[in-house]
């Protein structure tokens, strides 16, 4: 049981280590990347099964008792996120085999990808604030290099904005952690949850909550702190964009949900109203920003932002209702939305890469005729695209449905209306990509390229796998929603978390 909690950290680190040892043998590194991410997925599923059967599990690293040592905790939410990290890691590793160029591979692309996954999983599993900061840094260091690897001018322009704003967020996060420690004398999340409700004066707490909201808000790219995302996500190779789009902002969302369900719940009338307003503005600006774009990956980048709005919408709703049932439904909606979004968004980025390979560009006006060139790819684009817009019976429909239901239950009608309109506008953007890249005739001068059989397999296999998951989540929404509901129940039951980490009260 201890081992399962540590495996999502040990497996990527071991894979990265062996990749380092095989620095000059790219064939070995490629195999290791696939095997390592598959093992990570396996470890994640085992952890999820354990948490499903036994409830929240925790381990104290180095056997130092909480709250003095570092605690690793896995509840359903963490375990689901680790599984998703494994899914995305595996899909991107396979996709990289055919899409990553050799110079980038020989400068450590594969070990960096593993370190990134380790940072992401660490952030999901830790139960300690300073340790969370450390995992954020591990993840950011790897992402800085992945973003700039290759050194193209566009990439460096994007990387400068990305690095600057993320370092600012880290500084805010660190300051907030310092103040928190000064006020309470502890950084263990469970211990904080127990002490904060009793000790500190509400003013300080709200100020701290705002600092954390800023820090995690920049990482999660919420309104008005999202500018770094569309400035950088379209610059690196597609595989890197895809893993960033799937996982990095979601770590910020995860941290927001964790902190605002476990720790800062005292002044929910203020903090969660603010979160709700931010959610609405994030959805609207993201989707409007996408409408103005004409580059495949830029459109998708802006849609990440609008989707982040949906995810924290559930968090805001959960804090603003008195009914525990609706609160659980709202959080379950958020968790379900994250599950759906990570798979769909990564998939769309992967599709954009194949479109670029076939049509020679990411610019919609230079693309065209992809439907004629590759009908199979067209279907594989339509599944995540329609799911993103919320078409039944795909995963996005049920994600939006549960959030709308929770919104109606919490009597927040304005935000429900916003969510529905944004859904329609999302469909507009997806139609734009459909009409421009797939449906219209190819421009006369566009280069036509074909893929070799091996490339085709490695590019389309992960896309097909993720599309199949999207369909499965849609068709089997009931059992998947049961997972999300269990996660939400554990998020609302703070006492169970505190008891698991700190042990029974003496």
């Amino acid at each position: 049981m201890n081992l399962l909690l540590v495996l999502p950290l040990v497996i990527p680190l071991l894979t990265a280590t062996f990749s380092l040892l095989a620095w000059r043998r790219l064939a070995i590194q490629r195999k290791l990347a696939v095997v390592g991410t598959a093992a990570l997925l396996g470890g994640g599923v085992a952890l999820l099964t354990l948490v499903w059967t036994r409830g929240i599990v925790a381990t104290q690293l180095g056997a130092w008792p909480a709250p003095f040592g570092i605690t690793l905790v896995a509840d359903m939410f963490s375990a689901i996120m680790v599984v998703l990290a494994g899914v995305i890691g595996l899909a991107v590793a396979v996709y990289s085999l055919a899409s990553m160029d050799e110079p980038r591979e020989s400068f450590g692309y594969y070990p960096l990808l593993q370190i990134l996954l380790m940072g992401v999983c660490g952030a999901f599993l830790t139960g300690d604030f300073f340790n969370l900061y450390v995992w954020f840094e591990v993840m950011l260091m790897a992402s800085f290099v992945l973003l700039a690897l290759g050194g193209e001018p566009d990439q460096l322009r994007g990387a400068i904005k990305y690095v600057t704003l993320n370092l600012l967020a880290s500084a805010l996060f660190l300051a907030a952690v310092g103040i928190l420690y000064g006020v309470t004398g502890t950084l263990n999340m469970a211990d904080l949850a127990r002490k904060l409700s009793a000790v500190a004066e509400p003013g300080t707490m709200t100020a701290l909550a705002m600092l954390f909201l800023m820090a995690f808000g920049i990482k999660a790219a919420v309104f008005p702190l999202f500018f770094w995302l569309p400035a950088s996500y379209h610059t690196p190779p597609v595989a890197v964009s895809a893993v960033f789009a799937g996982l990095l902002t979601k770590v910020g969302v995860y941290a927001l949900i964790r902190v605002f369900t476990l720790i800062f719940v005292a002044d929910a009338g203020y903090t969660h109203t603010l979160i709700l307003v931010i959610a609405g503005l994030t959805m609207v600006t993201g989707v409007l920003g996408a409408a103005a774009q004409h580059e495949f990956r830029r459109i998708l980048s802006f849609h990440i932002i609008s989707q982040i709005g949906y995810m924290i919408l559930g968090l805001g709703l959960a804090g603003l209702t008195d009914s525990p049932a609706i609160s659980t439904l709202a959080l379950a909606g958020s968790v379900f939305y994250i599950m759906h979004h990570i798979i769909v968004k990564t998939n769309l980025f992967l599709v954009s890469g194949v479109a670029q390979r076939l049509g020679g560009s990411f610019e919609l006006k230079e693309l065209g005729g992809l439907y004629r060139a590759d009908p199979g790819l067209t279907v594989l684009f339509l599944i995540p695209a329609l799911s993103l817009a919320g078409m039944p019976p795909l995963s996005g429909f049920f994600a939006k449905l549960s959030l709308v239901q929770a919104g109606l239950g919490a009597e927040q009608y304005v935000i429900v209306a916003v969510a529905l309109v944004v859904g329609l506008l999302t469909l507009f953007s997806m139609t734009k990509i459909w009409a421009e890249a797939f449906w219209k005739a190819a421009p006369a001068d566009s280069p036509r390229q074909t893929l070799s059989a091996a490339e085709k397999r490695n590019l389309l296999l992960p896309i097909g796998m993720l599309a199949a998951m999207t369909v499965t989540i849609g068709l089997a929404a009931e059992p998947v929603f049961a997972l999300a509901t269990r996660a939400a129940e554990q998020l609302t039951d703070r006492d169970a978390y505190i008891r698991t980490v700190l042990g029974e009260p003496q």
Binding site: L14, L20, W23, T59, A63
Partner: protein, 137 residues
């Protein structure tokens, strides 16, 4: 740089610095020192060598690729943490054993030292894989 004084001095300094770095590593358990500072001193020994004799000779003297040192160090450090599982303890718990050495008495040996040795290797590897390419430029 071609300086006879530096070359001769470096021949004396290299073993001394390496010895000192091991001393720092071993002493680090209870007193100031440890894998990080020991590793830095060890790396500085090779950096000095590269100033006197150039980067290719340094790589030859080192005998292994600095990146290999990073990998080996990570493996050693990770292995020391995983050892705890064999005695049923959580990850990273220190495992201690006693060794009777004739003439010296009892020796307390534990995984923290192994972890530190891993850090030592990683620090040397990282420092040299940054500095040696700079010397080569």
């Amino acid at each position: 740089m071609n300086s006879l004084i530096l070359k001769v001095a470096t021949r004396f300094m290299l073993p001394l610095l390496l010895l000192f770095s091991i001393f720092l590593l071993l002493r680090g358990h209870n007193q100031p020192g440890g894998g990080f500072s020991g590793g830095l001193v060890g790396a500085s020994a090779f950096v000095l060598y590269s100033f006197a004799f150039g980067a290719p000779e340094t790589r030859q003297a080192l005998g292994v690729d600095p990146r290999g040192l990073i990998g080996a160090g990570l493996l050693v450090a990770l292995g020391s943490g995983l050892l705890a599982f064999f005695v049923g303890q959580p990850f990273m718990t220190g495992v201690w054993g006693q060794l009777d050495v004739p003439g010296l008495g009892e020796l307390h040996l534990g995984t923290p030292l192994v972890f530190d040795a891993g850090v030592y290797l990683v620090v040397i590897g990282v420092t040299l894989s940054i500095i040696l390419p700079l010397v080569e430029e």
